[in-house]
Symmetry: C2
Subunit: 342 residues, 2 copies
DNA sequence: CTGAAAGCGCTTACAG
DNA sequence: CTGAAAGCGCTTACAG
């Protein structure tokens, strides 16, 4: 050893130290770490032993610097926090994303932002090379920034985005129109004729499409589609919308509601007005979340695979980042789950 | 210009380029970026102009590498995803954390893990120098890893952690025992005498302490504390616990419930059994979340400032990371909010 | 106040 | 298959 002072390694071990312990060069250790095939079996063993011995973990920053990749992806949530947290749909989606990412080297950066305008910090963060890609859930059409984000960064949307660039964006969705048809058709099959709907916000494709499905099914059956109230995908909104419908259309005998959470509110409202479910009013929800089974009467609902959607969102982004060409649009299936409410 | 080829800057601009445009050295630009006072006013102007012109943002990885700081903190959620998302308490806490972090240079890494045992990936991630600190919310006593995490990393807990190291940990909490006393005392003041409680999991300090407050208030009033059922901080658990209590103790005339979400379930259960609130059974919840106002009857509850707790959690960690000495324990106040249920 | 230079911990052609 | 060397984009003593 030419240098007398063998620095006591303080803090985390580096490649350098592993190399010294293993008696090889840094380059070789790096190859082992990265699973390069150009390493002889015996050297491999020695290096792996040294890595284990020192409990070596590569420095992320150093890696990022040379690889020009941050190995982190942003989860952008342009939504009121309580709505994000309050709807089990998002819990499933996030769980799915998290599950898929657990099998990768990427980590998830949570970016809560205001619905219509991301903060300057978020913008700089997303555009500043701090993440390799982004997943945007619950996108509203009003926002211009996120719509154009995909010009600078690989982006995957949860749900079809609105906007001029939509035929270029990657997104995961279900066929919401078909879901709307299925839910409504079920009510028609049950012999209902005065079928109202509670939709979601007009600036969200999921709302618009489910509503269209409702209209299509009614048209097909020769029924009227004038009984409509707009909710906001919250339970309170469901209550308000249902009360309005009951007052305006006392004749209604069925309700197709664009989310279980709103349907849960509708059940509360019907109960308050003394209307029986399904006897007086039959209901179909959407999601098949825990809200479908939390009340007294089990909710018939159009199930969508939220967790799987999360998995596919993450998977699509990962493939994009790996330079592959995943499908631009993935549409998963909905399924009618019949319970007591209709 | 000695070199004929002036490389076209592709990708993001670097310090080097800013320096060139401003006609100064990299070091000077770096000083401007970092707000060093050792920069002359005129140079400052020139450099800032160049930064704006190039829309320069410092490379995070390069910075981390030399600064030996990642500028990111982990939000560790050792909790079933649906419970985390389902309880508005967490929404508020996360909102608070996010708000406080927006004023800093730190970003939030979301780590969803299993309640009793974080994944290997999460462990390596937390211990591997990928974050500068961590905030742990909803900690259960069963977990050994997170309890000892503070030995390797600055950690702030949301709620008093259980475990041997508890007198060394940083945490933000409310006085849950006192909250329990306040809620229960209110029921006593209303003239109730057969006061039951629905508690949370036995492995969580918040549960244990609120239960103790209930006991203390009853003891003080000379009332019996044998009417108890354990919930799990979910609405479904509240329903089950309430039904059990009603069956076992038909004489009960009041209920102190350790969370609004469980109280919401209890209201459902009472309604199902045909018991009137507050006439037959008076109820007090805990949190003052949206669940306190979502049902037919407004819930009297012990309010805790969840969002502010989140802010203080982040603030405490930030101060720790800045080398300051924030208070080890911050206890915020609870407050009784009286509505219709008692 | 300012710049030249070293160094943070990696990866990756380039030789051999 | 393996190593020496350059370089990723910054910050920070060290001189001046």
């Amino acid at each position: 050893m030419s240098d007398g002072t063998l620095a006591t390694p303080v803090g985390r071990p580096t490649l350098e130290e592993v190399a010294r312990v293993a008696g090889v060069s840094r380059a070789t250790v790096s190859r082992v770490i990265n699973g390069s095939p150009r390493v002889s079996p015996d050297v491999l063993v020695v290096v792996e032993k040294a890595i284990a011995e020192l409990d070596y973990v590569p420095n992320r920053a150093a890696r990022s610097l040379v690889a020009r990749a941050t190995m982190s992806i942003a989860l952008v949530v342009p939504e009121d926090t309580h709505r994000f947290f309050g709807d089990p749909y998002f819990a499933d989606v996030v769980q799915g994303i998290s599950d898929r990412l657990d099998d990768s080297d990427y980590v998830l950066n949570l970016q809560l932002t205001h619905p219509s305008s991301p903060s300057e910090k978020t913008k700089r963060y997303l555009l500043g090379g701090n993440v390799d890609g982004a997943i945007v859930v619950s996108h509203h059409s009003g926002d211009h920034f996120l719509t154009s984000l995909s010009r600078s960064l690989p982006v995957v949307f949860g749900g079809r985005p609105i906007g001029e660039a939509k035929d270029r964006d990657y997104y995961i969705d279900v066929d919401n129109r078909l879901g709307g048809v299925r839910g409504t058709q079920h009510l028609i099959d049950r012999g209902r004729t005065a079928i109202a709907t509670i939709t979601g916000p007009a600036d969200m494709p999921a709302s618009v499409d489910r509503e269209q499905g409702w209209r299509d099914a009614l048209a097909e059956a020769g029924l009227s589609d004038h009984r409509l109230a707009r909710g906001d995908f919250t339970e309170a909104g469901g209550i308000r919308a249902a009360l309005a419908l009951i007052d305006e259309h006392p004749d209604l005998d069925a309700l197709f509601v664009a989310s279980d959470l709103m349907a849960s509110g509708a059940l509360l409202a019907l109960d308050e007005r003394g209307l029986r479910v399904p006897d007086d009013v039959a209901i179909v929800g959407f999601d098949n979340s825990k809200y479908a089974t939390r009340g007294k009467v089990g909710l018939t609902t159009v199930a969508q695979p939220a967790q799987e959607m999360g998995v596919v969102m993450a998977d699509t982004l990962l493939r994009l980042l790996a330079g592959e060409s995943p499908p631009r649009v993935t549409t998963l299936d909905t399924e009618l789950v019949v319970r007591d409410s209709s």
